[in-house]
Amino acid sequence: MKKIIAMLLACMMLMCFVSCGGETPSDNPSGVPADDAKADFKVGAIYINSKNDTAGYTFAHHNGITTAMDQLGLNADTQLFIVDEVPEDKEQVLAAVDTLVGKDVDIIFGISFGYIDALEEAAAEYPDVIFSHATGYKSNETNFNNYFGRAYQARYLSGIAAGLKTLETGNNNVGYVAAYGTEYAETASGINGFALGVQAVNPEAKVFVKKLGNWADEVNESAFATELIDSFDCGVIAQHCDSAQPQIAAEKAGKFGCGYNSDMTGDAPKAHLTAAIWNWDVYYSTAMQAAMDCGTADKFVATMGSSAYYGGLKENFVDVSPLSENCAPNTDTAIAAVRELIVSGEWDVFSGVKLSIAADGTVTKADADLVDNNGNVIVAAGGASVEDSVITGTMNYFVAGVTEA
């Protein structure tokens, strides 16, 4: 008898924690907005981590979706349906899609790269539903698009802040804790954009990249940053990973840093300069508006104008967080000047024109080869910018001055 009771107790404990997670909210049509089209509009979202996260990638998207819904007068409590903690596994993504389609949603956002094949299949299976995939490259002509942004532009601006700091401290070594290196164009273009920004200010500067081999790994994010500081004598730590650990490590060592995804000044008030950030709500509100306007799902891509959304500084889709007090003097002037060049379309990061930024913040342009760290010329002096498809898909090199540590 005692054995049975014990087993039951053990089972109950197990069940308590199995039942956590899942979808929200219940079908509750209270608080319906006045407009009928809006009132019937339902948004679905598939997240890789928990919707309750308070920082990181999923948090940024969730925040973007709810902000966009607020802006459009939609009620995120009743019109947003989420399936969260969905791993990059085809069967599980398809199951999440089925759940959301069962809730009668009009558009489904999938935020993780690995959902790509499942969403492609689902878009064919459910032609009445719009599928929109973050960071992906697949799409069709009707109800399936992808969206991503020119993070490298924001990276370049944060690189300027880091470069000016290297001039101020006299330490030319900059560290970069990255999830991956040249394996993904996303990380490579971010590292390259940042490094070019640093070099525009300080041509002597070196960027040491340390790869985690994982998108989220907090313990090692901290360890890698400390290692870059201790062994490679880096004075500024930049990052392409979720948590603020690299910034916290920089603060502990009395160094400086540039964050990513969100303003990390609160995490490391004495170290953080500025972070490259995403304003996901810019895309989400555009996409939701298009989804409401297009009438039927098959006209969504036509309404958006393209099957791939690729916003940048100009659309305010990416940006740098407000500069902290730790920034060197004139950082604001320099960043404002370069921002103007990018927004106006006069200049872009991966082109045959190099910017030189003086310590007083003045910017001068000069033709120069864009060279990778093996000495190969990528863009000849004066040449046009590298194509978007390369930046998002096939950039598998580091620019000169970047070393893997």
Binding site: M7, C16, A216, E218, T226, F232, D233
Partner: protein, 332 residues
């Protein structure tokens, strides 16, 4: 590049990032020596971590944090003991359940606090922050190369080593330690000479689990209390279970085991620095793919288990004979 500095920081890192394994291993050795196999190390550490961190911060007292971490995890031990010793539940299943339960409690508490915007930030609590800072041991820490690596650490690292040595002495040389080993080897025989088997088991399961909890608390502090989507314990509890076998149920050997294991674990962080500092000898380290480094702890664990089982066949194993079997007096 400061070549000797790279070695120093490598040694320093080994201790900083692997000392929780020592807490987990020593705690589990004490539990297992009583004849109970507790696979719930991961969950037990998580519970200690979250309670220790939260209470420690709110009282702004590191000692209170350590104490609460110990007590919270000891309570997990009490639950485990109640289920397996008194109610005779299967130890493997209960242990696995404790792992899921503990990590669940961790996320439940953490997320509740974060949702309420009440999560304490370690940097706001001076006593915790300063209490966790490195304390150089006078004299020893000035030895070139190894001084900073071995003798300039935070209080919890010294405490971990001290607990391991104390546990070794307790098991090997004290009277209650001898009784405990008797219970683990043959509870029936121990019972027949008047040792209170139940009490011994309860006490040592709680004690061992409490020690694991301090290790969990350490991991939270080492992460500067940053609570995200991953658990602080990050699988270390499971590795600790394997390290118990590597250490042959000897807390003193657990120190060696932690260091050997930590050496390979830390190569992932420091490997490329070592390669850059000593290109002729260690240059090859830079060409090892990250994925291999990530797999290394588990490969090492597998190798260790194979070596241990070969050693055990030849005798001399510290494996308690009655490990994993519940003791029911009336069935004697």
């Amino acid at each position: 590049m400061d070549k000797l500095g790279v070695i120093t920081s490598f040694i320093h890192n080994i201790l900083v990032f692997n000392i929780p394994l020592l807490y987990g291993t020593v705690g589990e050795i004490i539990v297992e020596k009583s004849g109970s196999l507790n696979l719930g190390v991961e969950g037990t550490m998580a519970v200690g971590a979250i309670f220790g961190y939260i209470v420690g911060c709110f009282t702004n007292n590191l000692l209170v944090g350590i104490l609460v971490a110990f007590l919270a995890s000891a309570l997990c031990g009490l639950l485990f003991a109640a289920l397996t010793v008194s109610l005779q539940a299967n130890q493997n299943i209960t242990g696995l359940t404790m792992s899921i339960f503990g990590v669940g409690v961790y996320f439940f508490l953490g997320r509740t606090l974060r949702a309420a915007d009440a999560w304490p930030m370690m940097n706001d609590y001076e006593n915790i922050k300063n209490g966790f800072a490195d304390i150089p041991i006078p004299g020893l820490s000035e030895i070139p190369v190894v001084g900073h690596g071995f003798f300039n650490h935070n209080i919890l690292i010294y405490l971990g080593i001290a607990i391991a040595i104390a546990a070794w002495w307790y098991l090997k040389h004290s009277k209650p330690g001898l009784r405990l080993r008797a219970v683990g080897e043959n509870p029936g025989a121990a019972d027949s000479v008047g040792i209170n088997v139940k009490r011994m088991k309860y006490l040592h399961i709680c004690l061992g689990c409490g020690i694991m909890g301090i290790g969990g608390y350490y991991m939270g502090l080492n992460m500067t209390g940053s609570f995200n989507s991953e658990c602080w314990i990050n699988g270390y509890g499971w590795i600790a279970v394997a390290l118990v076998i590597f250490a042959n149920w000897n807390p003193a050997l657990a120190i060696v085991g932690t260091f050997v294991f930590g050496f390979f674990n830390t190569l992932r962080v420091s490997g490329s620095s070592l390669a850059a500092a000593f290109p002729e000898v260690l240059g090859w380290l830079a060409h090892i793919p990250t994925q291999l480094y990530q797999a290394l702890p588990f490969i090492i664990t597998a190798v260790v288990l194979v070596i241990s089982s070969i050693r055990n066949k030849r005798g001399g194993s510290g494996l308690p004979a009655a490990l994993g079997a519940n003791y029911f007096r009336e069935e004697r």
